[in-house]
């Protein structure tokens, strides 16, 4: 690790330490338990917290919708199916601050009136299972002490990226193939077993706890108007300081590259393989956040030694395998894009065939059933836009 770089990062004005700070869980639970559900929801809405998994739906609004949904049987699902390449924050949070996540789920259960919650942990993290189960058990004792009628069950995924999509996750949780559902209805009205369900990312739940305990003011002071608060970033690729860093949202990508780059960064893939490729020339005009380029945490840096053809090929291979395959545009589109760039590269298709491929990508973005297929166009179009030469030659 580059100590000078680390030092710069620690001194950076938008560097924060909320996620991994110490917290007296018992005291926090006591405080949360004393709050009125409406108050929790109001606080969250005021805070402007948006989902940290990538899609960015307002968290308070989601909780409100479930609290207002008809029926008494409701569920909380913590989405720990962290499959987006370049993302590893949820693992770190659950390894280091699981109690905060459980606290967040409990706050949510109180706000919406749920008695049962699930953590859906990706199968790739099965080594965490034992420890997490023990923490859940300990937490259940605490809940019992406070006579809180809420329980949390740990469920494992089994290797399927698409299950990070919330309706796919619910299908999987119900014991089926993780194929996305038609929306509407959304999980807030028909989720797990058809009951109103909050599905929140691991990180989101912890920030919710922070807001509920600390109030909205300090959270609102961080970030920007449409991207309040901070975020845990996962830095990988060509960087001297790979790892996890909590930073305020809304920073310029050029600042980010200054801090984390290796002085030779030619592109950053913001938001994982389903995110956007930003080339060097756009670093200074790109804001990391919902008003610019959003990310679920993944920040992958590429330096000039990298072939963007190989990078894009990697992505497309990933999508071809990880698409659930049920809908036409995504199942076939991913394969066509992959085979298409291969043939353009080999010269068996003319370079103008890239335009046909872009049409496929655009169709996928408006015609696919779920976020997976809809987002393949992001890396495809941005990478072929900015690195066309590398793709062709």
């Amino acid at each position: 690790m580059d100590n000078r770089k680390i030092n710069d990062i620690e001194k950076y004005k938008k560097r924060v330490h909320l996620m991994f700070s110490e917290l007296d869980i018992k005291a926090a639970l006591r405080e949360i338990n004393a709050l009125a559900p409406e108050l929790i929801i109001t606080e969250l809405i005021t805070s402007g917290l948006r989902g940290r998994g990538g899609a960015g739906f307002p968290t308070g609004k989601k909780w409100e919708m479930v609290s207002e949904a008809e029926g008494t049987e409701k569920y909380i699902v913590c989405n720990a199916d962290e499959g987006e390449p370049g993302t590893f924050k949820d693992r770190e949070i659950l390894q280091k601050q699981a109690a905060k996540v459980l606290l967040g789920m409990t706050a949510c259960s109180k706000a919406v009136g749920a008695r049962k919650g699930f953590i859906y942990l990706r199968g790739e993290y099965s080594y965490m299972r034992k420890d997490l189960s023990a923490q859940i058990e300990a937490f259940h004792k605490l809940l019992n002490d406070f006579k809180i009628d809420f329980s949390i069950e740990l469920r494992m995924g089994s290797g399927a990226y698409v299950c990070g999509e919330e309706t796919s996750l619910l299908e999987s949780l119900e014991g089926r193939r993780g194929e996305a559902r038609n929306k509407p209805p959304y999980p807030v009205t028909e989720g797990f077993m058809g009951k109103p369900t909050v599905v929140n990312n691991v990180e989101t739940l912890v920030y919710a706890v922070y807001i509920i305990l600390e109030g909205t003011d300090s959270f609102i002071q961080m970030g920007t108007k449409s991207s309040r608060g901070a975020k845990v970033f996962c830095v990988s690729g060509d960087t001297p300081v790979p790892g996890i860093y909590e930073l305020e949202l809304g920073m310029k990508l050029s600042d980010f590259v200054d801090l984390f780059g290796d002085d030779d960064t030619k592109a950053v893939q913001v938001g994982g393989v389903s995110g956007y490729c930003v080339p060097r020339k756009n670093f200074s005009k790109t804001i990391i956040g919902f008003e610019g380029v959003p990310t679920g945490g993944s920040m992958m840096l590429f330096n000039s030694s990298r072939s963007m053809y190989n990078v894009l090929h990697d992505y497309l291979e990933f999508f071809s395998e990880e698409s659930c395959g049920q809908c036409t545009p995504c199942r076939i589109g991913c394969q066509q894009l992959l085979k298409g760039i291969e043939q353009v590269k080999r010269g068996t298709k003319h370079s103008s065939y890239l335009d046909n491929l872009r049409e496929i990508a655009e169709t996928m973005s408006i015609a696919s059933k779920c976020g997976l297929g809809q987002s393949v166009a992001h890396p495809f179009i941005s990478t072929t836009d900015y690195f066309k030469e590398e793709i062709i030659y």
């Binding site: 370049g86 993302t87 590893f88 790739e124 089994s158 399927a160 996962c234 790979p242 990933f318």
Partner: protein, 149 residues
Amino acid sequence: MNTDIQEIISKTGTERNRLLPVMQEVISRNNYLSETAMRDIAKAFDISAAEVYGVATFYSFIDVSRLGRNVIRICKTISCDLKGKTDIINAIEKHLRIKLGETTPDQKFTFLQTNCIGWCHQSPAMIINDKVYTELTPEKAIVALEEWE
């Protein structure tokens, strides 16, 4: 019915939403779902065997053909690719004298690739059974193999 499955089901029950946990438990004991296991699960859950097979084949970590005692899954996704997973693969293939996707003749190892396992900052990475190995070099990878019986 297979006693293993009977025992697993006695703990989980046979509500449909327990299907994955049951499969996962079988996998953790046997590394794969055998034809008999799938039939038994189908019977217990009162669903068709085809349906069990359909669910199983959706998930990369649920295998329906026999694997070795230890399963190596090396990450093939972008960060690990950038940081030299190919060298690691070559080293392991050479050491075990098998190709990706194959099982050693003594059934000790099956060598598979998998998509991102969430260790991009410490790539290249692999999982053997449920232990993670990160920042691999060809040498470290071979040492890792020696941990397993």
